[in-house]
Symmetry: C6
Subunit: 256 residues, 6 copies
């Protein structure tokens, strides 16, 4: 699941041009559409190590930049993941950047403009990013509606690349290669997924991700009844409302 | 109460397939329907040690992953319960996961995808989960209504298994085996419980759990008057509203 | 006031059966109806030491379970009151449990089910409760209305015993024995108290407790004018609204 | 201002009986009506030292009970003001108790019932109050309206003594003795004060305290024009609304 | 700007009488009307050193009273600015006192009544204020409207002195003496300022302060075009609303 | 991008006069209009080093002023960025000052009036700013609407300089010099940008910054299709609303 990605879109071009021109990149798209996979794939292809940071409102900038640790009678400085990414020239992947605290985002600003540096005030050191450092972030506009948004002064620091689910043929191939499921079953799953993805009337908070389909395929490949496999990895996951779960199960029954 | 579980549903199949395929599992169901019991039973059956973590909004990720402790003039690292579960290959049971703080959930993400690892930033160590590690979580959709919900990006990482109360015959047997109550009394209790479980008009926040019935059985077996036993372990527990308590007592009086 | 309790209800039976069967007990009732007195009396009768913890939202689980203290160059572990109660086999009385923080309640869960143990993560020790350990909690449903409630998953862990004020004859005897007041005065006080307790139209947040009557008796026994004694220990205590205070004083004037 | 108090009410009787019978006392009344003065006067009369604690929501129970202090390489325990009051047998005066945090109030509960003790969990010591210890609190019902109230379980632990402003003759004498102002001027001031105290239509948050009148007297005695003295110590203090200030100044002009 | 002040009001009399009679003083008035200048001027005149504390909700009482500092292996006590003011007999100026946290204000109460002392609980020391200590505070009623107000129990501890802008002739002289601007230009500026100060229909949050006029004078004296000088130091400062800025610029154009 | 700035406005005059007369300066304007560039350019021109501080609500005044650091057994003081700026005589640039916490702003007040000093209470030192110290802040009125505003007492301490986007010819030249794009392409981009900047009906939170245009130019110069370059650096960045993104793409298609 980690090492290949079937791009039918322009993501790879945008990623490579940003890397080459040292521009920060923001990946916009729904849960499980392959944002993390794209970053891993590109890190592999560009031969640059990858450091991933899951942003959330309880992370402090010390968690990211580093801190002093007391060991016995000594005090030693320990780089945080962002500092390591800058020092060693990695791709830094800030997952769900809109969840991060304001001070953390602001501390990362100098990394995302022409300066490409990070300032460690505790040890009074400026760390300059080497040529192979790249800053990538992810963002799910579906979540953030009128709630937690990136400030324009942060948003405008990134080139924005929209991502969505794979087209049916590619998504089918992905399932087969990742789980060993046979083609007809995979195709039924993809057809079911796309039917649900188009049904806005279900009012789901988030729709069927590729990850969900991988889970269903694994369970079916393992011998579970397809209807039960879809029920536990799909219908029960997407909603807690009994009527909506029933509608999803009806769709599953029509497919298998 | 810990060591046996009378499954009439598909929970055991789902649990075993997830364990075998290394998929995380979320148990969905009301209070006291046997989620914890299922996990203990399966841990026993699979011969894997169990570590349980009760999630709540005051737990920090350091509580779960570990921290440095100062002992005399030495500083020693102490693994938290999650780290121990990963290192030693246990079933990690995250009870009421929706109550956990966002940063804690996010720190557990790498455990719930193909990586199956945990990163301890304080000691800069990645701990890889062995084959017999499994992550199980519980979730009560009744509580969470429009209030505290799991983010879809977390929810879609788990296969979801719905659980509900045992059917009458199995629940009767369970009471007999756990408390030694005689069959006719047990049957009356189960009948009463199911009558209350179907009365939506009582508007109870949570209905009669199996745990409640075990308490009532213990007190009856100990010689307490059945009406009083049901009053203190059932009617007074389910509500503080005097009229609803009276309705519950009327139902109890009809049963005993 | 501590060492005797005139039960006319079933509290003592419920308490003893719970103690014998190792079930946790929740005492439900208004302020000053004798919940603490019942617990002291029973601790005395059962010959088990009593440890009382007043719950509130600023208490941390470290306050209850224990913490490391630095003394000179040494770090020593100090058990908190809950840990002491478990280790030494006491009755643990959690006063106003609904006021406690969620993480504290959750840390006490293993004490209230079949496990009967407490886990001290800082020193990685499980303390098993001996046979004479019992967990008792108190709860005032009048306060909690639609505000701070126990979660059903906590509530269903306790047998629930409702308590209310003593009947007139017993409450009269209690006043006489505790304060030495003479019977006619005591009877007038109890009559006044019960008149006020039935007047819902006064809309008092809490009505006349036995404690209040003890205070009034002490002041009357000391020689204070009964009307003044009732004014300072009863009318002015129950309300700050001038009209309601006047109504209460009118009732007092009718009594004395 | 500290050492005498002209009681025309029953406060002294109530205070003495509570002290003699070891009952906690709550003084209810508006700002500046003499609550603190009463406590000082009584402490003097009863020959018991006085310790005053101003309650507010930022005070922790460690601030009141005590804490460990690190001095050089030693750790020493330091009693807080409440602990000192209990150990040394003082009158403990909790000013504006309704402002205190819930955990602080709860920590003081054992001091206000038959136990009369305080528990210092950090050093695991119970300090028993000697006979001459007394707990007095103050409370201003005007502030607290529908906002920050004492819980009934706390309120019912205190005998309640209502206080209000002195009657005109006594308040006049007080001004003369405290500031040396001459009688006719003092009488004019008191008349003005009582006129304002009765004008509910001014909608003042708090009305003219005795403290305000002392300030005005001092400035007049020092030679300031009475109208200006009343303006700066009374009109400008009671309101920031220009129209209300003007009304107050008109009343002042009518008086002087 | 610091060392002279052209009083046309009664502020100096009120200040001196309060100093002489040891009464605390509160200066009420809009931003930039000269409150700080009055305090500096009087400190100079009375030959008492001045210590200024800018109050805000993030200042703790330890910041003001003092704290222990660890230096190498020693722990030393360091007085905060308030303690220094009391010990050394200074004028303590609490700027914008309504912004301070409740516990800070309460800790200062003993300084503002007959006790005139401060209690340092950490070192268990009472510091008595000498005769030349004076407590002055400032307060801007314009800000505080229905938002953050001083509690009456604090407010009534201060004599209140209202301040407003200087009259035109005095304000003109001030500009000339402070900045060297020539009289006709200064007069035009003052006329413009007073026109704006009277236009309530502009709905400005705060109107033209003397500070603003000093800035405009400095820039004009430096050779900047008067319209531009007024635009950058006045119009753009008072509002961000484009229409209001235009109205202000029209007024400026009419003046220069 | 750092070292030149094509001013067609009066910013340079205002900046220089403020520097010469030691007045603090506030730059008002939208995201990416060149506020930071102006400050860098002027620091260069005036030959004064520049220290930039990104304000946000999680920065404490210790972060800015300095703190004690423990290194081995020694405690050493480390100046924060503001203190360094004052000590060494730099231009201090407070980016987005309205985001800073109140206590931080207040701690900087003495730097922005005639005192021009900073007080370090931890080491009890006053640091006086040399002649070449200047305090510059930035502020975006678009963000702050009815939300987070500077208090007038802070605002009136700064001369205010409004900034907006460059005029078309200058902005075109800037793109060419910074990115090497050819003139016709640059002109098309600027024309597109100004069309969008005038369309209030799009209701964008922030409009096209110069930074965005630089990104688009870089990608076009690198060989990316202009429509795609504008899509990823402009349309997808300015909105997450599918209809608005489509409108922006239509405008892009009309331009290229």
């Amino acid at each position: 699941m980690e090492t290949f990605f079937l791009s039918t879109h322009h993501e790879i071009e945008v990623f490579e041009r940003c890397y080459r021109n040292r521009l920060p990149l923001l990946l916009k798209g729904p849960t499980g559409c392959g944002k993390s996979q794209l970053v891993s794939t590109m890190a592999n292809k560009l031969q640059v190590p990858l450091i991933k940071v899951a942003c959330n409102e309880d992370t402090s900038s010390a968690d990211l930049l580093g801190r002093f640790l007391i060991k016995g009678s000594e005090t030693i400085w320990q780089d945080g993941p962002v500092t390591r990414a800058v020092r060693e020239g990695c791709i830094l992947y800030l997952d769900e950047i809109a969840e991060a605290r304001e001070d953390v985002i602001v501390a990362l600003h100098p990394l995302t403009d022409h300066r490409r540096e990070i300032y460690l005030d505790r040890i009074n050191e400026v760390v300059q990013a080497p040529a192979n450092f790249m800053c990538v972030a992810s963002f799910n506009p579906g979540y953030q509606k009128g709630f937690k948004e990136l400030k324009p002064s942060t948003r405008q620091r990134f080139v924005n690349c929209v991502m969505t689910y794979l087209d049916p043929e590619n998504e089918t191939q992905l399932l087969i290669r990742l789980t060993g499921i046979d083609r007809p079953q995979a195709q039924k799953l993809i057809k079911l997924a796309n039917k649900i993805r188009q049904m806005n009337e279900l009012n789901l908070k988030e729709t069927v991700s590729t990850r969900i389909l991988v889970y269903a395929s694994i369970l079916m490949k393992d011998g579970m009844n397809p209807r039960r496999a879809c029920s536990v990895s799909l219908a029960e996951v997407l909603s807690d409302d009994l009527e909506i779960i029933q509608s999803l199960k009806d769709l599953i029954d029509l497919s298998f």
